[in-house]
């Protein structure tokens, strides 16, 4: 299981910098490592969500060539926060998971923006929200919905002994 987690974390991060850009619409691509972090956190809790988020973000930072640690921090927070919600809210339903992912993407974007303010990031919040964070949140919602449905399908198939 740990190996699978490691593989998906590394694979998701590497895919984000190689394959995922081709899925971009209007210059916006889904944040696959974030989606992965959220899905892992939903199933494995805050600790695993936090660690997976940290490594996924770290790999993204390395691959992206930006400040190393920014996405590691924001994604670790996102994974932790999502993991905390499990048990407090009814998060098993895809109808909660997908909007949750959208909101979390916005929260992660905001956190990253405020963190980058310490490093004199030169873009306004309005522009960033309008052109990057909100479109990406929507895109993540769609991709996340597909992933959730796929995961549900796999789980159902496993229950019935088909897989």
């Amino acid at each position: 299981m740990r190996f699978l987690l490691l593989l998906s974390t590394v694979g998701g991060s590497v895919a984000q910098s190689s394959v995922v850009p081709t899925l971009s619409i209007g210059g916006i691509a889904p944040d696959v490592p974030l989606i992965l972090t959220v899905l892992v956190a939903l199933r494995r809790g805050p600790e695993v969500g936090c660690v997976v988020g940290f490594f996924a973000g770290f790999l993204q930072d390395v691959a992206g060539g930006g400040l190393i640690g920014v996405q590691a921090l924001t994604k670790a927070l996102a994974g932790f926060a999502m993991g905390l919600l499990v048990g407090r809210f009814w998060v098993a339903s895809p109808l909660v998971q997908v909007p949750g992912l959208v909101l979390l993407t916005v929260a992660e974007g905001l956190t990253r923006f405020f963190l980058l303010q310490f490093f004199h990031y030169p873009v306004s919040l309005g522009g960033l929200m309008m052109h990057v964070v909100l479109p990406q949140a929507l895109y993540n919602g769609f991709v996340g919905a597909a992933c959730v449905l796929f995961a549900e399908g796999v789980e159902a198939a496993r229950k019935h002994g088909w897989v």
Binding site: V14, P46, I68, L77
Partner: protein, 279 residues
């Protein structure tokens, strides 16, 4: 449990902040990030290659699909153009035929009616064609039917809107004729095999030779005088027999006759000169 959870979070956050701090202080992340990048780069390259390969296969497939549908469209288009070409050639041929027929009608010194072949009977027992001119158009029994090349036959049955024309190669057909060059009289008859022969008296036909043109005699006033019937191909000399036969190649190409002239008027004039007879 809870303290461990938050402890982990704090550790992770501290690690992140440490990384950021180290970088902003000008120290960089040093070898650690270089090692991670070095490990990641080949994997990234591999993924990109796999992705490019998959995209290439997909593009090839979509191209192939596109080419296939385009091919089908082009084939249909080519088929349509071929049909159009054939139709055009057909129309041109029909035009030529009708023009020749009209030309002949204008030159003829008797009234004639153009008709189109709408049916054929060529089973062997009867050789006939049906023309879309009948009683309503003033067609009568025994009306001669011709084409620009020569005689086709005669009307043997008149219906309100159509006429049945007995061809000269019908086994029951008999036409009074002469050899144009020698003026040898005789009868043109159809035979069971679909051929046409010229029956003449042996004592009159010593000079009849292959290549001679047979024309209607005009006797009996059924057919105008001088209508080309065909050319002699061979002579069947029966020795001492009373009649000899000449095998005749009909002037009209019966299977290809599509438009005809029905000679509704009469003339005593020799009209052989009005026909263009090759050979």
């Amino acid at each position: 449990m809870r303290s461990r959870r938050y402890g982990l979070l704090v550790s992770v956050l501290l690690a992140s902040l440490l990384l950021l701090t180290v970088q902003t202080r000008g120290g960089g992340t040093g070898g650690a990030s270089d090692v991670v990048a070095a490990l990641m780069t080949p994997v990234q390259g591999l993924l990109v290659k796999i992705h490019r390969g998959a995209v290439g296969i997909w593009t090839t497939y979509t191209d192939w699909k596109g080419v296939r549908s385009e091919n089908a469209v082009l084939r249909a288009e080519a088929e349509g153009l071929r049909v159009q070409g054939l139709q055009r050639a057909e129309t041109e041929q029909e035009n030529v035929r009708l023009r020749r027929l009209l030309d002949l009608r204008e030159r003829l010194p008797l009234s004639a009616l153009a008709g189109e072949v709408v049916g054929r009977e060529s089973g062997g027992w009867v050789r006939a064609i049906t023309v879309n001119r009948g009683r309503g158009s003033g067609v009568a029994q025994q009306t001669p039917v011709i084409v620009p090349e020569g005689l086709v036959g005669r009307v043997v049955q008149v219906r309100p809107g159509a006429s049945v024309v007995q061809l000269i190669n019908d086994p029951a057909s008999t036409v009074g004729a002469i050899v144009q060059r020698t003026r040898t009289p005789g009868l043109v008859e159809g035979d069971a095999g679909g051929g046409v022969r010229f029956k003449f008296m042996a004592r009159d036909g010593a000079q009849v030779a292959p290549g001679d043109l047979i024309v209607t005699s005009g006797l009996g006033s059924l057919f105008p005088k001088g209508l080309p019937v065909g050319r002699v191909v061979a002579i069947e000399d029966k020795g001492s027999a009373l009649f000899h036969f000449a095998v005749v190649a009909p002037a009209a190409d019966f299977p290809r006759v599509e438009e005809v002239l029905l000679l509704t008027g009469q003339t005593t004039q020799d009209i052989a000169a009005l026909f263009r007879v090759d050979g």
